[in-house]
């Protein structure tokens, strides 16, 4: 699995386009991302919005490169301000420096000091004037043209992307946008483009996909044909993507009255033999835990994609954090072994969600897939992913033995299971402790046998190499999980470029933890640093709970809402042992 998925980004460019409600900053970002794809490059786009539902300020943040992009950069090369209203809200999120360029229209007023004090250069352009010279012209498209020029992106790629993105709005809008973009290109004087910008390459097929879409796709690839869920930010887009597509695959999506209903609905569907999934975020996951415990005890496969946001409680619903690891691993009453997985990138949301579904089905248990807002609501331009080779599914017993023992303790600890409709497979699924036949039992021996079986089927399974992504060898071992992987891989590459030897260990299968292999993979590294985006160092403590870490291991845990940037990790490692 040592593909070159995570790569250095010396040649990446980071751009942000900001504006107040209605200025079209996000639309401009979407067109920019697509043009990056059409130019044969790779890219990543995140967005940041104010608290308003609509009409508030927003910022689109695009990073592109000639190699896949899986994390934000340390700083921005270019800030395009469509106006200055409320831009201060984003100052923390947009680090600028003296090498940065700010593009703005003097007609929109002066750039705020909080930005100019970074030392960034200012390129003033008469954006509004240019736009008003075009019938139906809009400033965001003019600004986009200017971005294209500065970044040396081919004008065709950009106008085609605009045409594609804006097509639903009609031909007139497309024509105006095209003209604005081209005028925007012309407005930038020759010689003002970034010298170091990645050069466009021969166009190859690319996908443009968000993390939430990728999770939805993974679910479908895994065989999910029933989804029940309750809307919640930042998970709702998974449902928006899935609803019409499930219909096309003879499946069903049901908007439930609440999360208590949605989790129990998927248990019902799955009891019926149909692979089923729900999606949610922290508050909803809290409400689902009782139902998930039922699925564990009754051994009905069930999958939750939990798109994490800032916590605790309602927290910061629109921002990212990796703080639901504890509840995902430990949030059950009683001893309830189950699976927890975390995709390492937007692309990986596809395969890891698919794997989660397959494992849950195969092992008749619960899988919680932890993505987060930074993956889910971001979009990436990626290589079309291959359909993975693994095919895991529920092993339905069509002809159960007589007597049929639904909860039999077998050699591999997975009991035979039937679905309604199977004549000799009648049983009652139960969350009460039961004997092998499924009859309620409070006998110590039955309890122990079922507890051990439910644990052993997970511990004993061969998960192969997919449990983690391991890259490099060296004295320094950077351990991480989920969405923080991208930034750690990039940091490692930068450290290597500086002559350090670094191993990265990014864990996908969090529970059951492959403790022994993990220990071996850490090996004799001199320095072990555990990186994650939360306040209580949840992963670090979990690894210690499993006795997976050497005593000298250090923790770098920092909460949201700001993303961890690669430079943070590089600095930490360079600082030496004192984090």
């Amino acid at each position: 699995m040592n593909h070159s998925y995570f790569t250095p980004h010396e040649n990446a460019v980071s751009i942000t386009i900001t504006g107040s409600g209605g200025s079209g900053a996000v639309t401009a970002g979407l067109v920019l991302l697509e043009s990056v794809a059409r130019a044969g490059l790779y890219g990543l786009m995140g967005r940041s919005v104010g608290p308003q539902i609509r009409g508030g300020e927003s910022a689109a943040m695009v990073r592109f490169s000639s190699q896949p992009v899986d994390c934000p950069g340390d700083r921005f090369d270019l800030l395009v301000a469509l106006d200055w209203r409320n831009v201060l809200r984003f100052v923390d999120e947009i680090p600028l420096d003296e090498r940065s360029l700010i593009i703005a229209d003097p007609a929109a007023g002066d750039a705020p000091e909080a930005l100019t004090q970074s030392g960034a250069q200012l390129l003033t352009l008469p954006i509004k004037e240019i736009a008003s010279g075009v019938k139906g012209g809009r400033i965001n498209m003019v600004a986009l043209g200017a971005v294209g020029a500065v970044c040396a992106l081919p004008p065709d790629a950009m106008t085609e992307s605009a045409a594609h993105t804006l097509a639903p709005k009609g031909d007139a809008v497309v024509a105006a946008a095209t003209e604005c973009i081209l005028k925007g290109y012309d407005s930038v004087a020759e010689g003002r483009s970034f010298a170091a910008a990645p050069r466009p390459e021969r166009a190859r097929a690319r996908w443009n996909i968000s993390g939430n879409e990728a999770s939805g796709l993974g679910a479908l690839r895994g065989g999910v044909r029933f989804v029940a869920a309750y809307p919640i930010t930042p998970a709702t887009e998974i449902l928006e993507w899935l609803a019409p597509r499930l219909e096309q695959l003879d499946g069903t999506l049901l908007q439930a009255e609440d999360e208590l209903a949605s989790v129990n609905m998927i248990i019902g569907a799955s009891f019926g033999g149909v692979p089923a999934l729900t999606t949610t975020s922290g508050p909803g996951l809290s409400l689902m835990m009782e139902g998930l415990g039922l699925a564990v005890a009754s051994e009905i496969p069930a999958v939750v994609v939990n798109v994490m946001r800032g916590g605790p409680s309602t927290g910061i619903p629109t921002k990212s954090e990796q703080a639901d690891l504890n509840i995902a691993i430990y949030g059950f009453h009683g001893d309830a072994p189950h699976l927890v997985l975390a995709p390492l990138s937007i692309t990986d949301c596809i395969a890891t969600t698919q794997w989660g579904v397959g494992l849950a089905e195969r092992l008749q248990t619960v899988a919680i897939v932890l993505t987060d807002q930074s993956l889910g609501q971001a979009r990436a331009v990626i290589d079309p992913p291959e359909m993975p080779l693994f095919t895991l599914s529920r092993q339905l017993a069509d002809q159960p033995t007589d007597p049929y023992l639904r909860y039999r303790v077998t050699a591999e600890a997975v009991s035979p299971v039937t679905a309604p409709g199977t004549a000799d497979g009648i049983y009652t699924g139960d969350g009460l402790e039961h004997n092998e036949r499924g009859a309620p039992s409070s006998i110590a021996a039955d309890h122990l046998a079922q507890l051990e079986k439910r644990q052993r089927k997970l511990e004993g399974f061969d998960y192969g190499k997919r449990w983690a992504e391991i890259e490099g060898e060296g004295d320094i071992c950077l351990l991480t999980w989920g969405s923080s992987a991208g930034v750690v891989f990039e940091a490692a590459n930068r450290l290597r470029a500086q002559g350090q030897t670094v191993r990265v260990l990014a864990v996908r299968l969090l529970a059951p933890l492959r403790t022994q292999i993990l220990r071996e993979a850490i090996g004799t590294a001199q320095r072990v640093l555990v990186v994650e985006q939360n306040h209580q160092a949840q992963f670090f403590h979990y690894l210690n709970a499993q006795q997976a870490l050497p005593p000298s291991a250090e923790s770098y845990a920092r909460p949201g809402p700001l993303p961890i940037r690669p430079g943070e990790i590089v600095d930490l490692v360079q600082q030496g042992g004192d984090v």
């Binding site: 697509e34 794809a37 097929a205 690319r206 996908w207 443009n208 996909i209 879409e213 796709l217 479908l220 690839r221 044909r225 029933f226 029940a228 019409p244 597509r245 219909e247 096309q248 695959l249 003879d250 499946g251 069903t252 049901l254 439930a256 009255e257 609440d258 208590l260 209903a261 129990n264 609905m265 998927i266 248990i267 019902g268 569907a269 799955s270 009891f271 019926g272 033999g273 149909v274 009782e290 139902g291 415990g293 039922l294 009754s298 331009v381 079309p384 309604p420 409709g421 199977t422 004549a423 497979g425 009648i426 049983y427 009652t428 699924g429 139960d430 969350g431 499924g438 009859a439 309620p440």
Partner: protein, 278 residues
């Protein structure tokens, strides 16, 4: 797979499992069990095509005692499990059963929304106006002055939950009341409920002699409902509102669109994936 002929020969007892109920002697739930097995035998349903779903409570133990597929879930969520199952497996006959605590206290929200959703499900609420399994607390249907629970020593003082009225206001399309003391009459209601296309709600008075010994008098109190079954919600509201809660029969049947999973023109997954191509 049993043939139609085999099934014709199935007797009610053939739908009983071998597990002995944990219920107290004289518990009304025994007769609900009989009524259900009678109804299944009457309809000649293949056992493997039936699923009986429940929550937690004495009443909710019932799936293990019926020889069909069954699921004994957590407290209050039976209708959610049943709805997911029916949505994913429309070919099955899905029954739901449980107590007044399970269905109207912790499960109240799912009751409301299951009534509205009008899936083709049958819900049998075994109402003994008490929490049997946790040893005798007031439930939503308990009279406000019942003071025998230590948790509410002066009675709850709260208006009773009116299952039929709530079902009607929520949009249920079949509403009936039966009595476990009359298992044959109850079996007939269950048969009609299963045959009704859409959500059918059968409110069953099912005494708990252990914690509500006075419910033995229900035998004398029940009576057929005065009015004919109606499909007019205003008439039904009238009948239900002016009812003493002990009248039996079918109050309301309306022919309403039954929930079904929407299907679109089918596409393959690889076709769907093309959408991501730039």
């Amino acid at each position: 797979m049993s043939t139609a002929q085999d099934r014709k020969n199935l007797k009610p007892k053939d739908y009983k499992s071998e597990i002995k109920p944990i219920w107290c002697p004289g518990c009304g739930h025994f007769s609900v069990l009989s009524a259900i097995t009678k109804a299944l035998a009457h309809l000649g349903l293949a056992k493997e095509q039936v699923a009986l779903i429940s929550g937690i409570g004495c009443s909710s133990r019932i799936p293990a005692y019926v020889d069909t597929y069954g699921f004994h879930g957590v407290h209050g969520r039976a209708l959610a499990v049943a709805s997911g199952l029916k949505a994913a497996r429309p070919d099955l006959t899905v029954l739901t059963a449980g107590g007044d605590g399970d269905g109207f206290s912790i499960g109240g929200n799912h009751f409301l929304h299951a009534c509205r959703r009008n899936m083709d499900l049958t819900y049998i609420a075994m109402d003994n106006e008490v929490y049997g399994m946790t040893k005798g607390q007031a439930s939503p249907t308990t009279a406000p002055d019942w003071s025998h629970s230590k948790l509410t020593p002066h009675g709850t003082g709260i208006r009773r939950f009116q299952p039929a009225a709530i079902a009607l206001a929520s949009g249920a399309s079949f509403i009936a009341r039966g009595f476990s003391g009359d298992p044959s009459g109850l079996a007939r209601l269950v048969v009609e409920a299963i045959q009704h296309p859409g959500f059918s709600f059968v409110h069953v008075l099912s005494p708990c002699p252990t914690f509500r010994p006075e419910q033995r008098a229900w035998k004398q109190q029940v009576h057929p409902c005065d009015l004919e079954t109606t499909d007019n919600p205003i008439d039904a509201a009238h009948a239900i509102q002016s009812d003493d809660g002990r009248s039996l029969g079918i109050f309301y049947i309306e022919s309403l669109p039954v929930w079904r999973s929407e299907k679109a023109a089918q596409r393959s997954l690889s076709r769907i994936e093309q959408e991501f191509l730039v």
